[in-house]
């Protein structure tokens, strides 16, 4: 269902561009500047594109998202680099300007929907409040619009759900409410940080279908963060693989799945749920990822990499372009014949 369009951006005029989000050479420091957790991340999200960030815990994917949302945790700061939303530089925004960008420019959904909602207020009122404050709708119009939004995110009996409090709704329904709130001001980009991780697989599949439908109906761009490569490949057009604070590979999903060029991506594919349900040897990636902000000479994956050579341990490894918007941060990206899932 397509929602009736009113001008959702009353006074912030975002410069239009094909690229909704562009992050360049982003460095985020943690522990008050003591360590660098995100080092030189660059990524692009185009209009109507769903981009997935994938990596182990502590790889910097969530910090990158939070930097883009302007909600870094205490002690963390953007050290270097630029983030721009459709041409609007987010790194130099004042608090007031951020308030306009939140909702109208960026929507966000997180892992645990219940903790982002007031437990004692009906979910419909919480959505209507956003519409009143952000879009200056009148109370009656805001309630009507809230019901429309609930219907648009696939909630059955939206008028009934409007009056329910979070405790009366299931986890999947709450996540739909959160998505309704996130898209209520028609943002350019939806950031979904582990948005399906806490849900049952059946509900997760429904939320993925919902995000795809929202993209199809409204041209919503989505930045989807997950530690589960299998979920990311099911939803996303492009995949960005994080390892220890760096982007090690990025490219179109089918390229990444069928022809991974970085040994870490290949390792992730081997340990991911391949879903053939036959009894198989469960593989592991040997070794441990380096600690957050560890200083390492050369490639950060070299210590766990089966293909590492001595050159991998010196200097700075820069991304190697490999064709249509595909690059891998690996010295041997061109001479390693890494098998993808299909080739195997």
């Amino acid at each position: 269902m397509v929602i009736d369009s009113r001008s959702p951006l009353p006074d912030v005029a975002l410069p239009s561009a094909d690229e909704v989000l562009s992050v360049d050479d982003l460095h985020v420091s943690v522990h008050g500047g003591a360590a660098m957790a995100v080092r030189g991340v660059s990524l692009r999200v185009r209009a109507g594109e769903i981009v997935g960030l994938v990596g182990e815990s502590g790889s910097g994917k969530t910090l990158t998202c939070r930097a883009a949302l302007g909600v870094l945790p205490p002690g963390c700061a953007v050290d270097r680099g630029t983030i721009s939303l459709a041409g609007l530089d987010l790194s130099a925004l004042s608090r007031r300007e951020w308030e306009r960008v939140h909702g109208a420019g960026l929507g966000a959904v997180f892992q645990d929907p219940a903790s982002y909602l007031n437990p004692s207020v009906a979910v419909g009122s919480q959505l209507a409040e956003v519409l009143r404050v952000k879009l200056r709708l009148r109370p009656r119009a805001s309630r009507q619009r809230a019901v429309e939004l609930f219907a648009a995110v696939g909630l059955q009996q939206p008028e009934h759900v409007f009056h329910q409090i979070p405790a009366e709704l299931s986890g999947g329904m709450l996540q739909r409410v959160m998505i309704a709130i996130a898209i209520s001001c028609d943002p350019r980009l939806l950031i979904a940080d582990e948005a399906t991780t806490a849900l049952d697989v059946t509900i997760q599949a429904e939320v993925i279908d919902l995000l795809l439908a929202l993209r199809a109906d409204r041209g919503l761009a989505v930045l989807f963060v997950s530690h589960d490569l299998a979920v990311v490949t099911q939803l996303c057009d492009r995949v960005v693989v994080f390892y220890a604070g760096e982007v090690v590979e990025s490219g179109p999903t089918n390229e990444i799945v069928e022809r991974p060029r970085h040994p870490y991506t290949q390792a992730l594919l081997r340990v991911a749920s391949v879903g053939d349900f036959s009894r198989r040897e469960l593989e592991v990636i040997p070794g441990q990822p380096p600690g957050v902000g560890a200083e390492i000479e050369g490639c950060r994956f070299a210590g766990r990499c089966p293909a590492a050579i001595s050159a991998c341990r010196t200097g700075v490894i820069s991304p190697v372009p490999l064709g249509q918007r595909h690059e891998a941060r690996c010295l041997r990206a061109n001479d390693l014949a890494l098998g993808g899932l299909v080739a195997r």
């Binding site: 059946t202 993209r215 109906d217 490949t233 099911q234 057009d237």
Partner: protein, 369 residues
């Protein structure tokens, strides 16, 4: 179309053995008076020595309650739970406590950071069960602790650390070592890997598989993630709203599920590949479905099939709860239409737009503005 019974040896036990765990038509009711809710109804589950049974189901299906009933934290209202032929569900308080302290059955939880005491060192955490059991001198405890840690691939260097000082995968291994220290015969793991990264998850699952081999443990692994169970489980039992809807050898259940709910879980499991017997939309009820009216959202005992309100194949017969019937060797399913639904599912048309991959490059989607 029964698949060939080429299951692993542990899936088809010798007739002479007694089951390690036998759960027989157990009902669990939580709450009193008008708040009383039937969490489990008529659950049967048998685990043979050296077998790994995967228990699957969604939130609220009763997986954790079943685990709690097995270890004696909840009393069943009806039915019997036997461990090695000994009925434990009717034990009185003192006997129950003695049974628990013996450590025959051990529980492992999802989040090791919450199930391990943050103030204790790894050595104390692993030794605690042995100290409570009593009658063991300190040197023996030390040896048993080191042995349990060695079983999970940790060495003495971890002994002096606290849970906050080790990684997530190591913490879950400490939780397993804690369970192993009392030399249990049955291990119940409640979502042991869902808080872990993919590589660590596979490591822990492989560890459980090895322990089954080396220590002859019986293991019940509770999970909502079917694909991670596929690697290790011999048998799969699927719970839905407190009832076992399918129970059979993993290799056969995963090849040709007989219950539409099992098939739905399989179809929804995230996967890098796209070769499934069914897609989710073929098994999910959509607005366009015209189905026989089924009474009540939550059917009472003896009422409609528990899955009927979500099942796109529900028919008039589904107004009565189907009993578990044999679908093959060691394989049972509770569905009136288990013969017919696979053909019906194949005919179902997609109601929603196709997923992004592999057709992702097919032009820009229409923008609204």
């Amino acid at each position: 179309m029964t698949a060939s019974p080429a299951a692993s040896p542990a899936a088809s036990p010798a007739a002479s053995q007694a089951p390690r765990l036998a759960v027989e038509s157990v009902d669990v009711i939580l709450g009193h008076g008008w708040r009383a809710t039937k969490i489990l109804s008529g659950v049967d589950l048998t685990v043979w020595p050296g077998q790994i049974v995967g228990l699957v189901g969604e939130t609220g299906s009763g997986k954790t309650t079943l685990a709690r009933a097995i270890v004696g934290l909840v009393d069943p209202a009806r039915g019997r739970i036997e461990i090695d032929g000994r009925t434990v569900s009717t034990l009185r308080r003192g006997a129950r406590r003695a049974e628990r302290r013996r450590g025959t059955v051990q529980l492992i939880f999802q989040d090791p950071l919450r199930s391990l005491d943050p103030d204790l060192t790894v050595a104390d955490i692993v030794a605690e069960g042995l100290r409570i059991r009593g009658g063991i001198d300190r040197d023996t405890i030390g040896e048993l602790v080191l042995g349990a840690l060695a079983n999970v691939g940790l060495d003495a260097s971890a002994l002096k650390r606290t849970p906050g000082q080790i990684s997530g995968g190591q913490r879950q291994r400490v939780a397993i070592a804690r369970a192993l220290a009392t030399q249990p015969r049955l291990l119940i793991c409640d979502e042991p890997v869902s808080a872990l990264d993919a590589s660590t998850r596979n490591y822990v699952l492989r560890l459980l598989d090895d322990l089954r081999g080396s220590l002859g443990l019986s293991i019940v692994v509770i999970s909502h993630d079917l694909s991670s169970l596929a690697g290790i489980a011999d048998r799969i039992a699927v719970l839905y709203r407190g009832r076992i809807v399918e129970d059979g050898p993993a290799s056969q259940v995963f090849t040709a599920p007989r219950h539409p709910y099992t098939a739905l879980l399989m179809a929804c499991a995230p996967s890098v590949r796209h070769d499934r017997p069914f897609a989710p939309y073929q098994l999910r009820r959509s607005g366009a479905d015209v189905v026989a009216p089924v009474a009540g959202e939550v059917p009472a005992a003896g009422g409609a099939c528990v899955f009927a309100p979500r099942c796109p194949f529900a028919a008039a017969a589904c107004a009565a709860q189907p009993a578990l019937e044999t679908a093959g060797r060691w394989w049972s399913v509770a569905c009136h239409r288990h013969q017919e639904w696979p053909a019906l599912a194949r005919e179902r048309e997609r109601a929603c737009p196709s997923p992004a991959w592999p057709a992702a490059s097919a032009g820009e989607p229409a923008r609204r503005r």
